[in-house]
């Protein structure tokens, strides 16, 4: 099962190395990891998407993360009301009339063309991972020359409803 874990860490050198090293040493399967600054100076936030087999493994993962000296807080936010976003840059083959067609495809996704060359264009899309994946699937037939994704960054919404069941894919 896929889980989204956030970790608040002290911004010291080697922290990312320690976290990823621990995860690979303990055979956890990381799907994506994104790190960046937070609202507080010296504190960074990590968002990890991991694939774990059961809740015992998941508990181990959060405990092991929390055990790291520079990790301040660990939360599994998968089952919470949250916002999760990722960014993808997609270089698609396209020239002439094809461009208009591609434009037509990407506009409902609120994606934008950020670079154009003679025979290709670069599209930027931000959003929920399934939306990003859906757009990529639509663009694939046109020929994707290059693709780069940031991995998910996420946090819980300001207000939490009483959630009974939220599928990971609905984020």
């Amino acid at each position: 099962m896929k889980r989204i874990i956030t970790a608040t860490v002290q911004n010291r050198s080697g922290v990312l190395n320690r976290v990823t090293g621990m995860l690979s040493k303990r055979q956890f399967n990381i799907e994506s990891i994104s790190v960046g600054g937070s609202e507080t100076e010296g504190i960074s936030k990590m968002t990890l998407v991991v694939d774990v087999s059961d809740f015992q493994k998941l508990e181990q993962l959060t405990k092991q993360l929390h055990r790291q000296i520079d990790v301040l807080k660990v939360s599994d936010i998968t089952d919470k009301a949250m916002v999760a976003r990722e960014l993808a840059l997609i270089k698609v083959v396209g020239s002439g009339q094809m461009r208009a067609e591609i434009q037509g495809i990407i506009s409902p996704f609120r994606a934008s063309v950020i670079d154009v060359s003679k025979d290709s264009l670069i599209i930027q899309v931000t959003g929920k991972p399934d939306k990003v994946d859906a757009l990529i699937a639509l663009l694939r037939p046109y020929g994707i020359k290059e693709l780069s994704k940031t991995g998910i960054t996420a946090f819980p919404r300001g207000q939490q409803q009483n959630v009974t069941e939220i599928n990971y894919l609905s984020i």
Partner: protein, 572 residues
């Protein structure tokens, strides 16, 4: 290169170099013994050491591995962090085995490694290694100094992290330019670790759950691990067990946490544990684990481990709870605090007379056993004699292997912190340097290194240390001409194909003499008692080459992958 200074200062007249500041920080941390080996990147530190009148001893091994294992032995018997200093590159990498060993067995170490100058870090400079990269997976924490003003704080944090919560090794990497830079102001050395707040006091609700479970259990058993020793909780464990009259088993590293001669002690559990201890765990309905991490050598096949039991686990490291064995009652706590909380609950317990009698019967019926072969020297008998001759008072250190298991089985540890062994990592070559550290930490105690002929040859150059520092360590080499445990597995599980497990050895007596230490050889049981009485009465170090029967095996045994109830080699 001048280090930047950014912290809050208390002005002082004195200018200090990084090296001097390090020594001052060590004095402040009340270090009394520093195990180290000089080299290029730590020359400034060694120079400062030469000029200073620091009140601590410096102990020089012949290989950095000797220094770190000695520091582990020191930490194990004193409870204080063992402090190690080594140079960059090969100096640092030679420490790796000991750091990994300390990590697995939760020993507090503070290790300082020299590093090449900041300006050449990352250029593959002479004697450069990525110490942070190498030691990250095998340390509780590590860091590289970026500026001199951080040094006092970082050193303080290193000692704090190493010795609190679940102990472990901490590495501080010091670039050469930091140790030569100077600082005229005193800087802030406040520990600042918001992400590190070990929980030491148990949750009261979980304690109530545990005592409820205890009141309802018909077949309870206590499993005591090294956490009891680290928590200094042996007295509380004894009170707890006495109060509720519970049967106790220990892990390998937990030996001595509960008196080995106490009738309620069923002995060590696990692969080479006693039949009674393993059956107690197999048949119990409540297992109370205090400070053990459910290592696979203890549990055997997990599906047969305490299959009918409710499991309670008291551990200071939350990540250990539920790691290997599903836990019904988790208690995150220091062993002492946990036991005190349990003692404060008064519970009326059924007496479990039938259960205890059943276990006592098993203890009587299936004891540890071996066959003596005439006048030849049986290794198990040798250990029993060591126990007798030392009145069970000695500090025993071992490597890994057959001699280790025999020592664990036949030396009854009545008191805590007398047993120094490489449990988790299973390090050959650990026992002898660890004995040196143990002796330095406990100068008035009898320290006996029980080692194999294989393991001793991995670190035997440290005979120089016992000569240099006049340490009365007694080294007993259980010499069977082979890597005994490997040979045993080849015999039992590889159709006696003794692939590269039969080894030669130097003349250990002459070897000892070449270091200026006396050497003795025994190969007959009749000579052992006199020899042991002699060497234990004497204040000199000695190497004893004990030529034991060659093909002896460690029994009983849980074959790898089997359940603890499927022991082989049980006395019938």
């Amino acid at each position: 290169m001048k280090a930047e200074v950014e912290c809050e200062f208390v002005k002082s007249e004195k200018t200090m170099t990084g090296a001097e500041l390090l020594i001052e920080s060590l004095v402040e941390a009340e270090v009394d013994t520093l195990f180290g080996y000089p080299g290029g990147a730590v020359l400034p530190i060694y120079d400062a050491l030469y000029r200073s009148n620091a009140p601590f001893k410096h102990i020089l091994p012949r290989h950095e591995q000797g220094a770190v294992h000695a520091a582990e032995g020191y930490a194990r018997v004193t409870g204080k962090p063992g402090v190690v200093l080594a140079t960059s590159g090969p100096g640092a990498t030679n420490l790796v085995t000991g750091i990994a060993d300390a990590m697995m067995d939760s020993l507090p170490l503070v290790i300082f490694t020299g590093q090449v100058g900041s300006n050449v870090i990352g250029t593959d400079a002479f004697q450069e290694t990525d110490v942070m990269g190498v030691t990250t997976p095998i340390t509780k924490y590590n860091c590289q100094l970026k500026q001199l003003s951080d040094l006092p704080r970082v050193v303080k944090e290193a000692f704090h992290i190493a010795s609190t919560g679940r102990p472990g090794p901490v590495v501080v990497d010091i670039p050469k330019n930091i140790s030569t830079a100077s600082l005229s102001e005193k800087c802030n050395s406040e520990v600042c670790l918001p992400g590190y707040q070990p929980t030491t006091k148990p949750n009261p609700l979980q304690i109530i759950k545990l005592t409820d479970a205890l009141a309802n259990a018909k077949r309870p058993v206590v499993l005591a691990g090294a956490g009891v020793l680290f928590g200094g909780a042996s007295t509380e464990l004894k009170q707890f067990v006495d109060q509720y009259q519970l049967p106790v088993t220990t892990t390998l590293l937990g030996l001595g946490s509960f008196p080995g001669t106490n009738p309620l002690n069923l002995g060590m559990a696990g692969m080479h544990g006693t039949y009674a201890a393993n059956m107690a765990i197999y048949e119990c309905d409540l297992l109370i684990n205090i400070g053990a991490r459910f290592d696979d050598r203890l549990t055997g096949s997990l599906e047969h481990f305490a299959p009918n039991a409710k499991v309670a686990h008291i551990d200071i490291d939350p990540a250990e709870i539920g790691k290997n064995v599903l836990t019904d009652i988790p208690v995150v706590s220091d062993a002492k605090e946990g036991l005190l909380a349990l003692l404060n609950q008064s519970v009326n317990l059924p007496q479990h007379e039938e259960w205890k009698q059943h276990l006592q019967d098993m203890k009587q019926e299936f004891p540890l056993w071996y066959e003596r072969s005439g006048d030849l020297l049986s290794p198990q008998w040798l250990i029993e004699e060591v126990y007798r001759a030392s009145n069970g008072e000695a500090i025993i250190t071992t490597d890994v292997g057959q001699h280790q298991m025999w020592a664990a089985q036949y030396y009854l540890f009545d008191k805590p912190n007398k047993w120094v062994t490489s449990g988790g990592l299973g390090t050959m070559g650990f026992g002898f340097p660890a004995a040196i550290g143990a002796q330095l930490g406990a100068p008035d105690e009898l320290v006996v290194a029980i080692v194999g002929d294989g393991g001793f040859q991995m670190t035997m150059q440290e005979l120089s240390m016992i000569k240099d520092y006049q340490l009365p360590v007694k080294i007993l080499i259980v010499n069977n001409g082979s890597l005994g445990m490997v040979r045993q597995w080849q015999e039992k599980f590889y159709d006696e194909r003794y692939s590269e497990s039969i080894i030669s050895s130097p003349d250990f007596v002459k070897l000892a003499e070449s270091y200026g230490i006396s050497g003795v050889r025994v190969d007959k049981e009749a000579d052992v008692p006199g020899m042991l009485n002699d060497i234990f009465a004497n204040d000199d170090p000695v190497v004893v080459d004990c030529r034991v029967t060659k093909m002896e095996c460690v029994f009983p045994m849980v074959p790898s992958g089997k359940g603890n109830h499927e022991m082989i080699g049980v006395k019938k």
